[in-house]
Symmetry: C2
Subunit: 349 residues, 2 copies
DNA sequence: ATAGTTAACGGAATCGATTGCATAAATTAA
DNA sequence: TTAATTTATGCAATCGATTCCGTTAACTAT
C-alpha cells in the first residue's frame, strides 16, 4: 500500500512562493493578509488537498479545540441525549468531542481524567460516577485554568460551572401530583443519597408530604442501589405485600417505575386505580408501557448544549468569566395514564 | 486566577540531570535505560506532577492514539451501545475516542470526516448516514493508510474492514418464525433499500416466503423512510384496513414494530392472535410493550469492541494486515409474546 | 592485555503551525 | 517631494516529545 505524503503549509509556501507565515495567516483569515492573497492561497490549498494538522496547531497553542466528556455510561437514554447535545454544539463551533465512561467506578473516573488531561482538552464536561466522593482528580484542570462543567450528577463541595435541573421542585411536583390524584400512602424509590439528584428528589418528596399533612413512613421509602429493573421488581413486590400497602409510588427513575407497573399488574394490583405510579426521566419506555408512565421530563440534549456552550464561551472570553455559574433548568411533569387515579389533572393553584 | 505552568520532560531533565532523551525513553520503558534509572525518573515524574502532552507526541509520531467514530445519531439504543463497546476497548488499549454524528446527512458526514482527519486519528469507525452514496470523502484515509472500519450500515463498493451482522439470515429467520406460527400473509416494514441492512433483511423475508410457498404481495411490503413510530402507525392502520389484511408483520426495526402493536390494539386487532409481530434490534421498548415484542437481537456493544480491535490491531501490526477483512456476526431471535400465535416455538429442523 | 561487545545515555534534528518582531512596499499627509 | 503611516509579507523561535546517530564506560572473550 502506497502512503501519500501530507501536504503542509510549507508545501503550499514553496508552491506559491510565499512564506509559511503568510500561508498560515491566510488560512486563518488574518487581517494583515490581502483578500486577494487569501483567496489565492485558499484555492491552492483546496486544490493541493491541504488539511490542517490539529496536533501541530494544538501543540503550539497549547489547546486542542476538543471538549472532553466524562460520564458514567453512554448507553442510557439520558446520557446519549446529553452527549448528542454536546456534540452538536461543539461541532458547530469547530470543536471535537472526546468521550469516556467511568462505568460508575471512581478508579476509572480518575484514570479517564488523566487521559483527557493529557490530550489538552479545552474543557471538561462531567457527570460524576456513583462512587465518587473525593474530587482531587479534577484539581489539575483548575490549576491550569481549564474549565469544568459538572452536569446532572454534580459535586456539593467544588466550585465550578454546573448545569442541573431543579430536582427538588421536580420531586415535589411529582409527589404533589400523586397527592392531588388522591394518594395518601405514597412510596418513594430513592437513589443513592450522596448524589445530589437523588437527594433533592427525595427532599421534594418529603416536603410535599409534609405540606399536605401526610405522614412520612420509613417503610415506604426504599433505598435503591442502582434503580434497576430487578431492584424495582423486588421492592414493588415487597411493598404490595405489606398489610397496609402504598397507593402511589414516586420513583427516582423510569426503569424502576416501569418495573413497578409491570410487577403490580402481574400481582393483580390495578394501576393507577389501586396504585398510581410516576417516574423520572421520560425514557422511551415510559410512553410504551401500559398503562403509560407519568414522569418528569429532562431537557437532556439542551443540558448538553448548554454545558458545551459554557466551555466554548469560557475559552473564547480568555478565561475571565465567573467560574461558579450554575444553570438550573426547569423540568416538566408529563402526565400519562399510570398516575391518573381521578382521570383528570387538577389545576394547580 | 493563577495558572500553573506545565511540567515537561525538559523540566524533569534539568531537575534530575539527565537529557530529555533519557527522560523520554525512561517514561516509555525503553530497553536501553537501566531499571534503576527508569524507576528514579518515573517516581520523580509522578512527584513533580508530570503529565505527557499527547499533542506533542502525536505531532512527532504523526498519530494521536485516537479512534474516530462517525455515526448517524448517538441517542439510539443500538448506536449508544456500539459506542460504549468502542470506548471500552479503545480505552483499555490507551486510546481515546472522538465522536461525531452526521444526523443522517451526507453533508455532515463529509465535514465530520475532514475534522476527524485533521485530528490525525489512528483509525475511523463509520456507520453510514442514510443519504450517503458517494464514498469519495473516505479516500484521503485510504491514501494515508489510515484504517476504516465500516460497521452495520456499510458501503457495497468500498474495499475496507467491515463489521456487520447477518441481516439476511436474521430476516429469513424472523419471517420463517412467523410462518411457523401459522402466518400466511406476512407484511414487511422495509427500510431504505440502498442501505445494506434493510436490503438484506428484506431479501431474507422474500426468500423465506418463497421457500415456504407463500405468495409475495407488493401491497404487503411497505417502504419506510425512517422507520419511525409515526410512520409505523400510519402503515399499520392502512394495512389493517385492507379488505384482506396481513396476519403477521416483520418490521425492520423495533420502533415501527412497537407502533404496529399499539396501533393494532387500539383498532381492536388482537396481537398475536390476529396479527403476529416481530421486530429488529431488541431495543429496551421491546420487552416493555404489551404483548412484549419478539425481535432480533444485535450484539451492538460487541460490534463496537470488534471494530475498535480492528483499528488497534491494524495500527499495532504496522499496517500490513488485510484491509478487506469482513466480520459477520450472528444474531439471535428473541421470541416473546407478540409472535406466539401457536403459544409455542416450533423446533427448527 | 587488547579487541570486540554491550549497556547507558546525550546531542540535535524533527514533526507542522503559530506569532512577535522586523522589513519592504505602497499610500497618504504636509 | 519627503516624512509618516499603513499594508503586506518574511524570519526565526517556539510548543513538547521522539529518535537516529553517536559517544563513553564497563564488561567479556581469548
Amino acid at each position: 500500500m502506497k502512503i501519500k505524503k501530507e501536504v503542509t503549509i510549507y508545501d503550499l509556501a514553496k508552491e506559491l512562493n510565499y512564506s509559511p507565515s503568510t500561508i498560515s495567516r491566510a488560512l486563518n483569515n488574518h487581517k494583515s493578509i490581502s483578500k486577494k492573497t487569501i483567496k489565492l492561497i485558499k484555492e491552492a490549498a483546496e486544490e493541493m488537498g491541504y488539511r490542517p494538522n490539529n496536533l501541530a496547531a494544538g501543540l503550539r497553542n497549547n489547546k486542542s479545540n476538543t471538549i472532553g466528556v466524562l460520564i458514567s455510561r453512554i448507553n442510557r437514554p439520558f446520557m446519549a441525549s446529553l452527549i448528542s447535545g454536546i456534540e452538536e454544539t461543539a461541532r458547530k463551533a469547530g470543536h471535537n468531542v472526546l468521550i469516556s465512561q467511568s462505568n460508575d467506578k471512581y478508579e476509572n473516573e480518575i484514570s479517564n481524567c488523566n487521559t483527557l488531561y493529557d490530550s489538552r482538552i479545552t474543557g471538561l464536561i462531567v457527570s460524576l460516577s456513583m462512587e465518587t466522593v473525593e474530587m482531587d482528580h479534577f484539581q489539575k484542570f483548575v490549576d491550569k485554568g481549564i474549565p469544568i462543567v459538572f452536569v446532572d450528577r454534580v459535586p456539593d463541595n467544588f466550585n465550578s460551572y454546573k448545569v442541573v435541573i431543579d430536582n427538588y421542585t421536580a420531586g415535589y411536583s411529582a409527589t404533589k401530583h400523586l397527592i392531588e390524584q388522591g394518594c395518601e400512602r405514597i412510596a418513594h424509590f430513592a437513589g443513592a443519597q450522596h448524589r445530589n439528584v437523588y437527594r433533592e428528589r427525595k427532599k421534594g418528596y418529603l416536603d410535599a408530604l409534609r405540606e399536605h399533612d401526610l405522614p412520612i413512613e420509613d417503610s415506604l421509602i426504599v433505598n435503591f442501589k442502582t434503580l434497576s429493573f430487578e431492584e424495582g421488581n423486588k421492592a414493588t413486590k415487597k411493598l404490595l405485600k405489606m398489610s397496609n400497602p402504598p397507593d402511589g409510588i414516586f420513583s427516582a427513575n423510569d426503569t424502576a417505575a416501569v418495573s413497578a407497573i409491570m410487577c403490580a399488574k402481574k400481582m393483580g394490583v390495578e394501576v393507577p386505580e389501586q396504585l398510581a405510579v410516576i417516574g423520572f426521566n421520560d425514557d422511551p419506555i415510559a410512553s410504551i408501557v401500559q398503562p403509560s408512565l407519568s414522569t418528569i421530563s429532562h431537557p437532556a440534549s439542551k443540558m448538553g448544549a448548554i454545558s458545551a456552550k459554557r466551555i466554548l464561551d469560557h475559552s473564547a472570553n480568555n478565561y475571565d468569566t465567573d467560574l461558579s455559574e450554575i444553570t438550573v433548568l426547569g423540568t416538566e411533569i408529563v402526565v400519562r395514564e399510570s398516575s391518573l387515579k381521578r382521570g383528570v389533572v387538577l389545576e394547580s393553584e
